[in-house]
């Protein structure tokens, strides 16, 4: 993708004025997408993203310049612009590239082929038909399939010169149920770090269609969720978004390094109930949030964040490491060359515990069983988080009574982690797209079923 001699020349140019580290991130990414709506294949698109970002450090100050022009002249011009922003750096001597780790493609990836788009279209048709077969109340089904092949080259003044290929595929089925006056929707959207072979193991299009349609129909016939403070049981899979929002973001160097996070300076301290162990693992093969190297050219890691309630690790990128005086953890990620990398989650989950799932609901009294979650967000400085319940059920005296809709869960991260009083035995993960300071990146969230002793539930 880039000649080593040119790369060396560009890095020299970038640190010419005193920068003490420079890096080139070069990307070429081809994405395909198909959408199906109103029973027809609506759009089929191909797009190619191409460009490079040059980053220079001056102590803990980061300079980032990016362009589409990846010719030698284009990169040299970027490097010169970056160098011009350095004020009083102590400089560095670039190390000769020695660290060559070409990511080897698993031979299992099935890519392209002349009839690839037509075969994907058939999968969407199958999902659509299955969703519509669930109920005459299903008035619309939107399906999409998106896949991408991203080739990256990362090299820096520390001698790293790495290439990698990342492949991602994901289906999304969203069904709308209507009684003519009201609409409700439900969705299902599994994905993985795989090619077309994803349909052999991860995605059953018909199952996705049925899940989405059943949620929409269930919610159409649901009452509003009662507002108040209640015990809440959150199911596994995408339920893990609670940890992602309530705690995960606050353990990223992005907020910890500045002392902004509520968990800054708390390594070794108890921040969660003793039944909680949480992990961020970038190495799980084929998972949606995995990669062999991060976007700073470091091998990814399996990092325990919380062990039996005790905070043991933060997620750290290169710049965060400089600010915190600690080693990076292979957690530097970015959406594309248009973003400087920062510390991000990968596949983040609460590990399996020892509690019986049925018993968890039977002993909860009156409250909410959140079977399926929507997305959420957090303010890492105060720990205030919120997220939406896509499919909820009202529980009285430990018995599931009826579906409820319009519920949201809010709280403060530190408080809710301490209030987890049950952790189930079967951990599952689900896919999401996480948006933060370095753009939108694929992440897994996960957990077994858990119970929170009390939480503020929004509704009416």
């Amino acid at each position: 993708m880039l000649d080593r001699n040119v790369a060396a020349e560009v890095l020299d140019q970038a640190v010419r004025t005193g920068g003490d580290f420079a890096e080139i991130f070069l990307e070429d990414k081809v994405s395909h997408s198909l959408t199906l709506q109103s029973d027809r294949i609506e759009t089929v698109g191909t797009s190619r993203k191409h460009g490079a970002g040059i980053r220079v450090f001056e102590g803990t100050k980061a300079i980032y310049v990016y362009t589409n022009d990846t010719s030698r002249e284009g990169l040299m011009a970027c490097a010169a612009q970056a160098a011009a922003a350095v004020r009083e750096g102590k400089g560095c001597t670039p190390v000769r590239f020695s660290h060559w780790r070409a990511g080897k493609d698993p031979d299992t990836w099935v890519l392209g082929g002349d009839d690839a788009a037509a075969r994907k279209a058939d999968k969407l048709r199958a999902a659509n038909a299955a969703a519509r077969a669930v109920s005459p109340e299903i008035v619309q089904v939107n399906c999409s399939f998106a896949d991408s092949v991203q080739d990256v080259l990362i090299c820096n003044t520390e001698g790293v010169f790495v290439t990698d290929r990342r492949v991602h595929s994901r289906i999304r089925v969203a069904a709308v149920a209507s009684d003519g006056k009201e609409n409700q929707s439900g969705s299902s959207s599994p994905g993985a770090g795989m090619g077309f072979e994803i349909f052999d193991s991860v995605i059953d299009p018909e199952k996705c269609g049925r899940i989405a349609a059943n949620k929409a129909v269930t919610m159409l016939h649901a009452d509003s969720c009662p507002a108040g403070i209640w015990p809440v049981v959150i199911d596994g899979g995408f339920g893990g978004v609670i940890f992602h929002e309530a705690c995960g973001h606050s353990l990223e160097a992005t907020s910890v390094a500045y002392g902004i996070s509520e968990f800054s300076g708390k390594l070794g301290q108890q921040i969660a109930a003793p039944c909680v162990t949480a992990v961020d693992d970038g190495t799980l093969p084929g998972e949606w949030g995995s990669s062999r190297i991060d976007d700073e050219g470091m091998p990814t890691t399996c990092l325990t964040l919380i062990e039996n309630g005790i905070l043991v690790n933060y997620m750290v990128d290169k710049l965060g490491g400089r600010r915190m005086n600690t080693a990076p953890t292979g957690s530097g990620r970015r959406e594309s060359y248009q973003w400087a990398p920062t510390s991000r989650m990968r596949n983040t989950y609460i590990a399996a515990g020892q509690d019986d799932e049925a018993d968890m609901i039977a002993t909860m009294g009156t409250g909410l069983y959140a079977k399926s979650m929507g997305g959420g967000s957090v303010n890492p400085a105060t720990g205030e988080f919120n997220f939406a319940v896509e499919e909820g059920y009202w529980v009285e005296d430990g018995k599931i009574l009826r579906p409820v809709r319009g519920a949201s869960l809010i709280g403060k991260g530190g408080e809710v982690l301490m209030r987890i009083d049950r952790v189930g035995r079967n951990m599952t993960m689900a896919q999401g797209v996480c948006g933060s300071a370095s753009g939108s990146v694929p992440v897994n969230v996960g957990q077994p079923m858990i119970r929170v002793s009390h939480m503020t539930v929004g509704g009416k």
Partner: protein
């Protein structure tokens, strides 16, 4: 690298040769600068220049799309192949129309700006000064989460084989935005807050005033607490109302209505909001972030009321949705390089009323002022109109703003909210985007608190 004009010519010629007719190129150019100060130092500095291009074309009467950010020979071949593959599979009932253009386009005056004469040093000094002013306001401002300045220019080009050849700046004259976010602490209580501003003229922004305002906004939220759960009378302040309107703006798209993703299909002429509600879409607004003479299909842009005195006058249309509905395009075709033509609002806002925020609160008596809504990407359902969102704000007692409120949720339905509006304020504000709103008295709202 080959010139953009050269690439476009080569591509259109290759498309014609491959039997893609008509064919159209849409191109978005962008250059930007941003810098952030943190704890008295410039912490990050970013410069970019990018260009992305998409090819749209018809093959046997069917539409295909492909896009690229690389401008080499491979890119031409990839775009041609992509459009052919895409057209071969497309089954949409309504195909796109590639348009030769309108006889006339409105002329937008580019607002006066000073962006080209402002140096990077000046922008860095601005960020540092703004952060310092914020920190110096009060000892309870304990941290800055960053003080940023950003400037940018953009352009869109639309050229097709039917003879259309248009170019405009997006937004006209470029933009400058600045803001600072802070953490306040007092005893056990911590709060975050900030302020931001967008201008055409960089030198019209006052870093010290911005910094002080950010500090005051943050301090006001210290010692916030939840209110009791229940039903409250409420005013949603302009900033929070803007985010709510932005989230639900899709319900006014004819595309969504035709696809059963909005409940407004076929309801033109019906009363869907309180009589005090008028909702405007104005692409000709001077200084607007989405101001443009033409839309993503090359139709001339025009100003229109979407809701006038509570009555739905029109949905927003592209040529494609208009053809299906038997009406005219409203000039709301929207393009992104990587996506097909969609329908989107331009400068979209509730027309301001007579009363300022204080008068709205005086009329409210007792209730809540909602100043911030969170989790909109998940807790608001644009299809059903339902929302259940984390909120912040202030208690309102005897018509006056009182103690701060946090850790509550507000729940309602946007369609119902439009009908229940009691008054629209005079304080219309856009900030750095194309959606604007004044503060709005929305009647009752469900609150979950303590």
């Amino acid at each position: 690298m080959i010139s953009l004009d050269g690439f476009i010519e080569k591509l259109l010629a290759a498309a014609a040769e491959a039997g893609i007719a008509p064919a159209e190129v849409f191109c978005a150019e962008r250059s930007s600068f941003s810098a952030e100060a943190m704890d008295g130092n410039i912490d990050s500095y970013e410069v970019s220049e990018t260009c992305a291009l998409s090819l749209r074309g018809m093959v046997d009467g069917k539409t295909g799309y492909a896009s690229t950010e690389a401008f080499d020979d491979d890119a031409v071949a990839m775009l041609i192949r992509g459009v052919q593959e895409s057209a071969a599979l497309a089954e949409a009932e309504e195909q796109d129309e590639i348009y030769a253009g309108d006889p006339e386009y409105p002329v937008l005056e580019a607002p006066e700006n000073d962006l080209d004469s402002v140096t990077a040093e000046e922008k860095l000094a601005f960020a540092l000064k703004m952060e310092k002013a914020a920190r110096d306001t009060d000892a309870r401002i304990v941290k800055s989460e960053g003080a940023y300045v950003a400037t940018g220019r953009g352009a869109m080009i639309l050229r097709n084989s039917c003879g259309l050849n248009l170019k405009t700046e997006t937004p006209p004259g470029g933009y400058a935005v600045a803001g600072v976010w802070l953490v306040g602490k007092d005893g056990d209580s911590s709060a975050t807050g900030g302020e931001s501003k967008a201008e055409r003229k960089f030198r019209e922004m006052d870093p010290e005033a911005l910094g002080r305002q950010a500090a005051e906004n943050t301090l006001a939220m210290l010692h916030a607490s939840p209110v009791e759960s229940g039903v409250y009378r409420a005013v949603i302040r302009r900033d929070a109302m803007r985010s709510l309107l932005s989230t639900f703006s899709g319900i006014f798209s004819a595309e969504n209505a035709q696809k059963k993703l909005s409940l407004l299909e076929g309801r033109e002429g019906e009363t869907i909001a309180a009589p005090c509600v008028t909702l405007m879409d104005d692409p000709l607004l001077p200084g607007g972030f989405a101001s443009a003479p033409f839309d993503g299909e090359g139709s001339a842009c025009r100003t229109k009321a979407v809701i006038e005195d509570g009555v739905l006058k029109t949905l927003l249309h592209s040529r494609k949705t208009a053809r299906k509905a038997g009406t005219q395009s409203t000039g709301n075709a929207s393009r992104g390089v990587g996506s097909p033509v969609r329908v989107a609002p331009t400068n979209f806002f509730f027309r301001p009323g007579e009363k300022n925020l204080d008068s709205l609160l005086a009329d409210l008596g007792d209730g809540l002022l909602i100043t911030e809504l969170g989790g909109l990407h998940a807790g608001a359902n644009p299809i059903s109109g339902d929302f259940s969102l984390i909120a912040k704000g202030f208690r309102v007692k005897d018509g006056k703003q009182g103690e701060p409120v946090e850790q509550i949720t507000v729940a309602g339905n946007f369609y119902e909210l439009l009908k229940n509006v009691r008054a629209v304020g005079s304080d219309l504000e856009f900030k750095s985007g194309n959606i604007g709103s004044p503060s709005v008295d929305i009647g009752d709202i469900h609150v979950a608190g303590k």
